[in-house]
Homo-oligomer: 189 residues x 2
């Protein structure tokens, strides 16, 4: 049976989201999978408030996740040092629902370094490690993102793929995404 | 049977995390619940690399979540316009694992406004709505955070509590947290 892959990521916010989604689905097909993109189930917003539309999109995406066998999540940092929060909710939900999780990010810069750069911190380091200006700890585990993300994926036989892409292709490059598919082609049961 | 509540949030990064965790657990007890704080199961980092320690903490927290009946998540914006990403992974996992989710945030400013302020955007609005400088959409659903968060909670009979607290108590105030507990005292089956 062909494995269904839920394609999580901030790609849905791109102005050409549908086009990118189709490219991702085409690549899934090339490697023997069926890709499901969040926008696959479009809804008609005409009959409800923006708030109700948002709730409905959430419900549809959750149903789409539960119909899949695994997730490939785009965890490229988005509007801050961490991945898109909607994507992260989805991989959490997927793991809780029994799916296997794989992820990719279009930067090789690790989470600690990204956070330090984001906060503009120079030397808030004491014996207990790096702190932000509120005195709150900055994780230093050599991970791609917060430890719950890396741990949630890696402890579950998943993998995180990372690579550097041109700055202006940060949210559109599918090179690392395709590396993930190439790997999965030979490594999924 | 006393309900066990997993206390998710960036509170774990506070320099007095253990003290705050104890205060939250005391408040849970006051309202008839048993609170479980992520740091409850401490691990000995002496015998592994930082990376392996991170993986272990993730595993322990996931086990702690699965032992609970519900989650109260602190989704106060953290290092960017959205909630702490580790917290969001946890509520996703909890929902997938069948737990009910409640959340609180120490600001009443909604997600769209926070994102616009964060990005410093003035007028990137076209007929399809607000965009960031990469041309990527900004959600406008009148929600507390990304629609997967609000939807994931509200569609599951959960609730999000919000209130404004003094700026310097953004990560320590337990006023809104206690409001959530007061509500749950009379509204949980």
């Amino acid at each position: 049976m062909i494995k269904k892959i839920y394609l999580a990521g901030p790609d849905v916010f791109l102005s050409n989201a549908i086009e990118i989604g189709q490219k991702k689905k085409d690549l899934c097909k090339k490697y023997g999978f069926e890709g499901r993109f969040p926008l696959d189930n479009e809804i008609d917003p005409c009959c409800s408030t923006p708030y109700e539309t948002g709730l409905k999109i959430s419900q549809i995406n959750e149903e789409l996740i539960r119909e899949c066998n695994l997730v490939i999540a785009n965890i490229t940092p988005f509007r801050g040092p961490s991945a898109d929060i909607g994507t992260i909710f989805e991989i959490g939900l997927a793991k809780g629902s029994g799916l296997q999780i794989f992820a990719y990010t279009n930067t090789k810069i690790l989470f600690t370094e990204r956070t330090v750069r984001f906060l503009g911190i120079k030397s808030n380091k004491d014996v207990t490690g790096l702190k932000d200006n509120n005195g709150m700890k900055i994780e230093q585990f050599g991970m791609t993102d917060n430890l719950m993300i890396d741990g949630g994926i890696v402890n579950n036989k998943g993998m995180i793929f990372s690579g550097d892409v041109p700055e202006n292709e940060m949210y559109t490059s599918l090179v690392v995404f395709e590396e993930c598919l190439k790997y999965l082609q030979y490594h999924l049961i």
